[in-house]
Symmetry: C2
Subunit: 193 residues, 2 copies
DNA sequence: TGCTGACTGTTCGAAAGGCAACAATTAAGC
DNA sequence: GCTTAATTGTTGCCTTTCGAACAGTCAGCA
């Protein structure tokens, strides 16, 4: 039931060629022929793997979407109460090996396929759940805090995607003040630095 | 009569996998199975392209040998009298794109397959011809000067292979003094710096 | 000495990919 | 509006690659 290596290889070749091409021109200007030429595959083979270039894009984007969902699920379950720090850290570490691909896909904004936007939505949902689990709050609207958390989170992800994980500990440390300020809005017992 | 792209692809995959493996262990310890595993090709395919791993090594090495021969031939013909500088420069520039592969192959020393050694011999022949063309010399043995020139040339090539071409002009400039000193042995009319 | 495991080199049917040709659609320029 | 060129999907035949099995070689070892 495992795939023939040839399938794995051609899909790998097609996908990396596709991503490379996206660094040279926008998605609309990338043709199937371009992809085949660069990946050294024939068009008939391309169409035996994908419906068209939209399908290709969709599948790659879906792959990273589910990767993020799995990471969030997994780490959310074993999360010690309130330890948002380690959740953020783990998710980012898991993503780091794919940072080039994600960086490229973040530039693609097609009507129904937008990795950056779906990342934002996933994180937003996660934040809303998190805030609501912390108990009822009165002073500030939940949505606002969720927006704030999501923004912070996305900014961090984008930073790591473009700069790598070398300075990650320092970066997380420096934004911890902001994070704590956000969390203070929903939990008065949260200790300050 | 042009090759099927599949052949080109598998040979490319096999060769790059092979070179990568050579960076982790010596040639003797690299098995055909290793190469196939890394390159995602089956052993039956490997043997339909190469007789064995020695044949593979041999073909890659031969490729770079002929590349050097062609470069030398080509530039030796259009060489302005005495303009050794530009010959050296052109040869090195042509080699630069392959520096990683050459660097790896320079570490392999098999009985009948040794890229570094054959580079040295090629350059040595070239230097001997060059010296003899400059007219008869009396004081110093031709072989000694050819040895000196070859050493200098090989050192320069190795330097570029490991450090890249960024500082090439500066490096060539700084060794020009040595080169001129060598050339002074065979041609009294050679102007000094 | 004989056993074992790893590697070699070869074989063959089945699966995948390449190539070339095709009609159909789209975009650009005159 | 018409023409031309480029791109898209699709098809059938042919070539290459895969995978798994096989016997043969060799080194280490009990």
């Amino acid at each position: 039931m495992t795939k023939d290596v040839r399938k794995i290889k051609t899909e790998r070749d097609i996908q990396t060629a596709f991503l490379e091409l996206l660094t040279t021109r926008p998605f609309t200007k990338v043709t199937v022929s371009d992809i085949c030429q660069k990946s050294l595959t024939s068009r008939s083979t391309f169409y035996s793997h994908y419906l068209d270039k939209y399908d290709l894009l969709d599948r790659i984007v879906t792959y990273y979407q589910t990767m993020l969902v799995q990471q969030l699920d997994q780490n959310f379950n074993q999360m010690v109460a309130g330890d948002l720090e380690s959740l953020i850290h783990k998710v980012i570490i898991a993503m780091a090996p794919h940072r080039r691909a994600i960086q490229i896909l973040f530039t693609v904004h097609e009507p129904h396929v937008d990795l950056k936007e779906s990342f934002r939505q996933l994180l937003h949902t996660e934040w809303r759940h998190y805030i609501q689990k912390q108990g009822p709050i009165h002073e500030v609207p939940v949505e606002l805090i969720a927006d704030m958390g999501t923004s912070m989170h996305m900014t961090l992800i984008e930073w790591v995607i473009t700069h790598g994980t070398d300075s990650l500990p320092a970066v997380i440390e420096s934004i911890s003040i902001i994070r704590k300020a956000i969390l203070l809005q929903i939990d008065e017992s949260q200790p300050s630095p």
